[in-house]
Symmetry: C2
Subunit: 335 residues, 2 copies
């Protein structure tokens, strides 16, 4: 079921900007869907859209209240429940990135049933998945992969979608995490599905399509991350990508949440291609997307040039320079 | 929570022997725990243990009724529910390999609560897992891996446990599937955990232990299976094995449930070691366990000799010949 737009972004009493990163991600990529934000007293985050009451948002056409903020301690404050119920009564659906399912909050569940509103839990798959089949599907697919978690895989897939659409190509971002689902109104958090169904969920996510249609699939984790490699591999097999784009953050030394050193770009690409050939023998890597925000300004160009020479691939920072060279390579390499 | 033994095996109205394979697996490895079987009219399976009523089983000391049979169509027949409730009233716990949770059957749930009995759902993890940490644990671990699903990974891990215990070693089989959980009274179906927690579940399963203690971890799936490789990889990373044993069925040409050709033994071992080095840099392969039941009798010895020459590893059929040579190699290679 698609999440209805436009959105009213609920930021609660977020203690800082990072706590609201889901809401901020939606504004980054779909500002036209965000009529405003609703902040409670003490909120330190700002999505840069107008502050609106629920009534004002409804008058501006809002269809869904998006809880795009992490609540500290995991306990849902009473003031949040009140806001959610008021939104349902005013005619909004609610989409939540909280761990707790909205249906498990009695007041919220009762209000949704009474007013016939939809409750979307972005962290809980709404679909019944099956095991992956590994059968070939029509259409073309790109998957973003990374040397680590949080190195720009979602951002890069979205930048590819934007660039390809600007070139008049049929291109759809396919979301595998909660922020991505809000941005595309559809998708699933693949890390929350039953382990047996990871590749099946990825197959559901990027079904057969026109021969000239591109799916840009948001990657998860890293094939070298000791916590999440299983999810990464199931997603790789299910997405059966024709091409991958390697995402990297050059100043990071340890893999997120671990004492493991960051793997090399080379070994990550090689291993992804080795494993990915199972479900798509023609898989290739068409570029390197680098988050250079932590590099000294003067080193960026030299660093990217070095990567291009070393790997024979276009290397670019999607935020600074866009992904034009990667799309050029993609279109040249995938028939 | 450990499942209490001994067991009364419930075979229901199993249409054939394969339908009761969970019960048969328990009898194979823990005959001393199986006081008898309970079969309904029309049952075509036979576990080779005495037919007992629930009252007779209780008198013989049974503690748990084990539903070790697949029900056709997924609907739970009323006669089964009646039997389960009678068992609970008679003082037995119930362990079930059915997809449907026992607690979701109102009569069963009520009887369990009333009589204070435990309900074990072997396909639904009872633990709350977290993400894997990848931290080194003490003790030694062996994981069975395979060129495909259903090639003897559970059987081989159990045969290793038996051989090592006979040699006076500290060795524990660690179950990752429902039959294995019944055989070891503990464990979890790793393919049923949330994808994010696969490696975390494997870490929980084989915790730190004495330096001279061996965990024999039951493998799942295959690193080259398009449906299940994610589970296989998460289990590999979480188990952080010092050694793996490769399991193979030589007459199979397609991977189970797919049109994919069986991968080679060589590429399976190489890929497992390449990926497994992440959480255990000393990982090695110490043997090949072959299910030769489908090979012509006269070819078995020559086939195994050929494998030994080709791979420089002991190759044996655990059922025909035991796993002595593999344990010899293991003890010689893992300090």
């Amino acid at each position: 079921m698609e999440i209805k737009t436009p959105y009213l972004l609920f930021l609660g009493d977020a203690p800082d900007q990072p706590a609201a990163k889901t809401a901020l991600g939606v504004v980054d990529w779909r500002p036209e869907w965000c009529v405003g934000q609703l902040r409670l007293p003490g909120c330190k985050a700002d999505a840069g859209v107008p502050d609106l009451t629920i009534g004002e948002a409804v008058a501006k056409g809002a269809k869904t209240l998006v809880i795009g903020v992490v609540n500290s301690g995991g306990v849902l404050p009473h003031s949040w429940v009140e806001t959610i119920v008021t939104a349902l009564e005013a005619g909004l659906d609610v989409a939540s990135g909280l761990h707790r399912r909205l249906q498990s909050i009695p007041e919220v569940n009762a209000a949704a049933e009474k007013h016939g509103r939809a409750l979307h839990n972005l962290r809980t798959p709404a679909e019944e998945f099956t095991t992956g089949k590994g059968a070939h599907r029509t259409g073309k697919r790109v998957l973003t992969v990374g040397t680590d978690c949080n190195v720009g895989k979602k951002y890069t897939a979205l930048a590819l979608e934007r660039e390809m659409r600007e070139r008049g190509l049929k291109a759809d971002f396919r979301a595998t995490g909660q922020t991505g689902v809000l941005i595309s109104r559809r998708g699933t958090s693949v890390d929350a599905v039953i382990a047996d169904f990871i590749s099946g969920a990825a197959e559901w996510l990027s079904p057969s399509n026109d021969d000239d249609h591109w799916d840009l699939v948001e990657g998860q984790g890293s094939i070298w991350h000791p916590s999440f490699a299983g999810v990464t591999l199931g997603l790789l097999h299910g997405a059966q990508p024709d091409a991958v784009v390697l995402c990297h953050e050059p100043t990071r030394t340890k893999m997120r949440g671990t004492d493991y050193p960051l793997p090399s770009i080379r070994s990550t690409i090689d291993t992804i291609l080795h494993l990915g050939r199972l479900t798509n023998p023609a898989i290739q890597c068409v570029g390197i997307a680098v988050n250079t925000s932590q590099l000294p300004e003067g080193e960026v160009a030299r660093y990217l040039k070095g990567l291009e020479r070393e790997h024979g691939l276009p290397a670019t920072d999607p935020i600074r320079h866009g992904v034009g060279p990667i799309v050029d390579r993609l279109l040249a390499c995938v028939p």
